[in-house]
């Protein structure tokens, strides 16, 4: 089971995470919420091995995939190519998945740099879901999506979680409920 114990992460003098401990049950969804600046994204960065911890014990994942807070798409590639490059699937499979989350066939020809915020978000979600691995880390994945699109994307995410350990960072209680989170961690802001 992935877990962190007495995790301390500093940025300069400020302690972003102070003695934070949590366990993330295998094959289940754990929702993490809390006020802005409490260290939710920092926690995901540590678990993704992108940020070193100053101290503490970390048991991460073997092959995680992620939806970052920013979309982080390769700007000169189409949406499908972005997905196939990262997820290792065919472009046809990526296009099929994109249509499933409400992509317009015309938008499939566009490079990522030409996509709207909502479309780029969906590409980023599909990329994470089609990448095989033991865990999915989602950082506010549905932010900026209208209700109808959110519904389609939520359906797609549920179908593709495939029993993977999932950590969902969100401000929206609906997200945890819709993804049937087994555990909810409320992070506190240290003052």
């Amino acid at each position: 089971m992935a877990s962190v114990h007495n995790l301390i992460v500093k940025r300069g003098e400020a302690e972003i995470l102070k003695n934070f401990s949590a366990e993330f049950p295998e094959h289940q969804v754990t929702a993490v919420s809390g006020r802005s600046g409490c260290g939710k994204t920092t926690l995901l960065s540590v678990l993704l091995n992108l940020l070193p911890a100053d101290s503490g014990e970390i048991h991460g994942f073997q092959k995680p995939s992620a939806v970052f807070q920013e979309d982080r798409l390769l700007p000169y590639l189409t949406a499908a190519k972005n997905i196939s490059v990262a997820a290792g699937c065919t472009e046809t499979a990526a296009e099929k998945a994109l249509l499933q989350v409400g992509f317009d066939p015309e938008d499939l020809k566009k490079n990522a740099v030409q996509l709207s915020g909502g479309m780029a978000r969906r590409v980023s979600i599909v990329r994470a879901m089609l990448t095989s691995g033991d865990a999915v880390l989602l950082d506010e994945p549905f932010k900026g999506l209208d209700d109808l699109t959110r519904e389609k994307v939520m359906q797609f995410v549920k179908e593709n979680l495939k029993n993977r350990t999932t950590i969902l960072v969100t401000h929206d209680p609906r997200d945890a409920k819709d993804l049937a989170a087994a555990k909810i961690i409320e992070m506190e802001t240290e003052k």
């Binding site: 995939s65 798409l73 390769l74 700007p75 000169y76 590639l77």
Partner: protein, 275 residues
């Protein structure tokens, strides 16, 4: 009249010139300066001091139809461009290595700084002492181009998007995919502008080296002869040839670079369209 009416008034707006208008304007500017040159040369009245443009054009035709013309151009071009491509390869490879290993960058920093600051004449004399004059222009043009390419490649690699590199790490992208999809778009604008600057630089320094080293059959040797025999018109005619060959090669090389980027569907990289 309010500010908005001034803004909306087409008569008051700055006229945008078409490509054709711009070309006509540029031709007129060149014609104007050629006329000034001609008038001044008539006033001076000495072909030795200032030859007229008409005489230069006449000499240019004599030079072009000389049986040895292509041989002379090829001799210099092959060496100067040889130096350019050597520097291009070396600068790109070392730029990449230096971006990975700070020791390499630290070691190369004083070298590139010294090459940039040292007058080209010092290098020419040193190279003449150490090697033959035959390949002088290869070494000199390489020395002039290397720091430009190296520093731009290094800068380009460093400008690669950190967030995309993190994404590549999380999704376990291979080195080749990272090179193609993250580093290449980051380096391309730096590389293209470095090549554009370097191509002019290699011709200038290469010909200067040949003038001092005077290898037989080179453009530099022709320049030197023109100086000895006070053949101003020949000197200017060969200058026109060097400028034409340099510009033609630069255009051709930049076109090829753009075609490669287009083939990779990255033509927008040069237009600064980023996510």
């Amino acid at each position: 009249m309010t500010l908005s009416t001034i803004r909306n008034n087409p008569a008051k707006q700055k006229k945008v010139k078409t490509k054709k208008q711009k070309a006509i304007a540029a031709t007129c500017a060149v014609a104007f300066w050629l006329l000034v040159w001609h008038v001044v040369s008539l006033c001076v009245g000495s072909e030795l001091v200032l030859v007229s443009p008409v005489k230069v054009v006449q000499t240019l035709f004599t030079v072009i139809f000389d049986p040895d013309f292509l041989k002379t151009v090829w001799y210099s071009a092959a060496r100067i461009l040889g130096g350019f491509f050597t520097a291009l390869t070396l600068g790109t490879v070392l730029g990449w290595v230096a971006s990975r290993f700070w020791v390499v960058e630290t070691l190369l920093r004083p070298i590139t700084a010294a090459i940039k600051a040292t007058p080209v004449a010092s290098f020419i004399i040193l190279v003449l002492l150490w090697f033959s004059g035959k390949n002088l222009s290869v070494i000199i043009s390489m020395l002039m181009v290397f720091p430009v390419i190296y520093m731009n490649v290094l800068e380009g690699i460093r400008s690669a998007d950190e967030e995309l590199l993190e994404m590549a790490q999380v999704f376990r992208l291979s080195v080749s995919k990272k090179l193609l999809y993250i580093y290449l778009p980051a380096v391309a604008p730096f590389f293209v502008s470095a090549c554009s600057v370097s191509l002019g630089l290699c011709w200038k320094s290469g010909i200067a080296a040949e003038v001092i080293g005077t290898p037989d059959g080179s453009i530099g040797a022709v320049f030197y002869q023109a100086k000895i025999f006070l053949q101003t018109s020949e000197l200017l005619a060969w200058t026109v040839v060097v400028v034409a060959v340099s510009v033609a090669f630069e255009k051709l090389f930049m076109l090829l670079l753009r075609l490669v980027l287009k083939k990779l569907k990255m033509e927008d990289v040069l237009n600064g369209k980023r996510a």
